[in-house]
Symmetry: C2
Subunit: 157 residues, 2 copies
DNA sequence: TATTGTTATACTCTATAACTATA
DNA sequence: TATAGTTATAGAGTATAACAATA
């Protein structure tokens, strides 16, 4: 994959696909010594940064199916990194929290994220890097209406 | 997915993942009337823009496995959109070309791509749109300085 | 000996639906 | 009635390896 076929440069969707694949592979490389999958790290990130999360919240955050989330959390719980606790107000829901081991692992995940982003954005100047990041976020999370159209700018104030 | 968890805004990889998912879903919506999958459209794009391609070239372009490419081309050939022909110089290889129906379908794919990109980049000004596109391409296909970074193993003995 | 394409296999991910226990 | 989580299943995608024909 050393060449860049012209169609890929002209089609944004293909470029985004390869950008994501590249980012995911970089991250997987950094996570390899920790024996963690990318989505495991993502879950750890969410519960360590946001505190207790329900499985539903994690499903929404990660954009995966709830049945997948069950299995992923089973694996994380089996490794002693997270725990399903009783939710304080909703007896249907689980409160997913990080264990001490999970928090310790997250410190390493955070370091892996930093290394990954530094490796990935080496082709940018620091200013471009910030700009790129903010534009990707805007693109990824811009509000959309029923037809899927992204509404014009709603600049965060 | 109406809210944007803070971790996703701060982690480039997660934002890229959602950006790609969003783009892929927009494109899939536009392709639905054509009864085409995203990767089918990608292959059609490559052989219509670049001319005859070997399966190996398509594998490299699309970043999928060669065994997957066999099945995908089987489906496209069954629909009469592409044809495997004898390669002019390499008797091992197939020359994948578009049929007349394939070229006609590609015209519709090209229109779907245009609509998709217009819908997706509605949150940007025309200048930002160009900038974003060029930065994604740079990021996705930046030259392989990364190859050195890929191998963290420098075991001291 | 290496490469192109094919086949086979196993594993993961996705998508769906049914089910329970709660709300 | 709707929601949170679980379980089951089928289909698609990914990753490997073995293989035949050819380079």
């Amino acid at each position: 994959m050393n060449e860049t076929p012209a169609p890929q440069r002209s089609v944004l969707g293909l470029a985004l696909r390869h950008a994501h694949l590249r980012a995911a592979r970089f991250f997987a490389q950094e996570l390899e010594p920790l024996d963690l999958e990318n989505h495991h790290a993502g879950i750890l990130l969410h519960i360590c940064r946001l505190g207790m999360q329900t499985q539903r919240q994690l499903v929404d955050s990660m954009g995966v199916d709830k049945s997948m989330m069950v299995r992923t959390l089973d694996a994380l719980e089996a490794r002693g990194l997270v725990r399903r606790e009783a939710h304080p107000t909703d007896r249907r829901a689980h409160a997913i929290v990080a264990t001490n081991a999970g928090r310790a692992m997250f410190d390493q995940v955070a370091a892996a994220i930093r290394r990954t982003e530094e490796r990935m954005t080496a082709c940018f100047t620091p200013e471009e890097r910030e700009l790129f990041h903010s534009m990707v976020v805007r693109f990824a999370y811009a509000p959309a209406d029923e037809e899927g159209l992204i509404k014009p700018e709603t600049p965060r104030t």
